[in-house]
């Protein structure tokens, strides 16, 4: 099964895919923006400020998802001694970091009209900030260390400590009394959000996921070409 993860086989696909994914992303994003900015209804309490939700929530979801998958990939890379897993997790990280920053900044912009403050040391916001710090540590450690074995160990260490933070982010709104509202979308029970707002939210999530896929593929291609360049040095 691991033969399918060999870089040469993957490169044949990934070198062509970004074009089509960029096209798809632009289409889905323009539909999502139409829905989010014009067609969706306004909230009875927050009025039009609710529209910030359509960028804030998907960004937070995807940054959490990317961090969990980075941890999973790093650990399995250690178990199966597969370098390729580390390459994949390295190329996933930048888009996750950017989504995390977007979630923090749009959250601050949303907080001003609704809570009356840009920033509060609230459980969810603080834990999200800690996740951003972990992302930054992860990205920086790839740049600092030259030795491959050392980098693999240190990045896996960072992700294993960082993954403790993810369930804290998820349940911070239930465990503590926070300014941030509890989750309105549940997979198991009925969601407390109306379908007219859920639909644009899902479209924006799809668009954001496509964008992170696009960045991941481009980053991954760059890494593969870097390895090839190293190989050409030896010839």
């Amino acid at each position: 099964m691991f033969k399918l993860f060999q870089p040469n086989k993957i490169f044949q696909i990934t070198s062509k895919a970004p074009k089509y994914i960029l096209l798809l992303f632009v289409i889905v994003l323009s539909i999502g923006l139409m829905e989010a900015l014009i067609l969706s209804p306004e909230d009875y309490k927050q009025s039009d400020a609710v529209r910030i939700m359509y960028v804030h929530v998907p960004a937070a979801w995807i940054s959490l998802g990317i961090f969990s998958s980075i941890t999973f990939l790093s650990i399995s890379g250690f178990i199966f001694k597969n370098k390729n897993f580390f390459l994949i997790s390295k190329s996933l990280a930048p888009s996750g970091f950017v989504f995390n920053i977007i979630a923090l900044v749009t959250g601050a912009i949303w907080g001003k009209p609704t809570w009356g403050t840009w920033w509060a040391w609230d459980a969810r916001i603080t834990s999200m900030l800690i996740l951003a710090l972990f992302y930054a540590m992860y990205l920086i450690s790839w740049r600092i260390y030259e030795n491959e074995e050392k980098v693999f160990k240190i990045t896996t260490f960072i992700t294993i400590i960082g993954i403790v933070n993810v369930p804290i982010i998820k349940y911070s709104v239930d465990w503590w009394n926070t300014l941030h509202q509890p989750a309105s979308i549940n997979i198991l029970s009925k969601s407390s959000i109306h379908s007219s707002m859920l639909f644009p939210l899902l479209i924006m999530t799809a668009a954001f996921a496509l964008f992170s896929l696009l960045i991941f593929l481009m980053k991954y291609n760059t890494e593969l070409i870097k390895i090839k360049n190293k190989g050409l040095d030896r010839l």
């Binding site: 900015l37 039009d48 950017v98 960045i215 291609n221 050409l232």
Partner: protein, 149 residues
């Protein structure tokens, strides 16, 4: 109409700044990764162009031949096996593995080939020794011994 859309009951500034921040960071990230990709690609092209084309071609064929075993190669490996008859005490397995590696097979393929080569050789060797025993003392193949088998 457009004014209404932009104003959004007084929240327009917040909503639009949030959306524009998102889109700006998207395009910044896209551009940065694109620039990195193009840089590495140019480096690759420059390096590949500076290589001697014959050398690259040779490297390619070498790579592809590593796995394949031709009749010529297997004949030479067989000659290495003959060495183990000439010098008693020379391991047959080691001789074939070394013979394989001298033919530019990689270690794994050489080991595998030597293993498969053992099958006909061992069959022939045991047939030969059975024949020898039969010729010198045929009473070994009596009824009782065969029943024991």
């Amino acid at each position: 109409m457009i004014n209404e859309l932009l104003f959004m009951n007084g929240y327009g500034v917040y909503v639009l700044s949030a959306f524009s921040f998102t889109l700006l960071s998207f395009s910044a990230l896209y551009l940065i990764t694109k620039v990195q990709f193009i840089k590495e690609q140019n480096k690759f092209v420059a390096k590949f162009g500076s290589l001697n084309s014959e050398k690259a071609e040779a490297a390619k064929t070498e790579e592809s031949d590593q796995e394949g075993i031709t009749y010529k190669k297997s004949f030479i490996i067989g000659c290495f096996q003959v060495l183990s008859i000439l010098f008693p005490g020379l391991s047959r397995s080691a001789a074939t593995i070394i013979g394989g590696m001298s033919q530019q097979l990689n270690k794994k393929t050489a080991l595998e080939f030597s293993f498969f080569l053992a099958v006909p050789t061992m069959l022939a060797a045991s047939a030969k020794s059975t024949l020898d025993v039969y010729q010198t003392n045929p009473e070994v193949f009596g009824k009782e011994n065969l029943l024991l088998l």
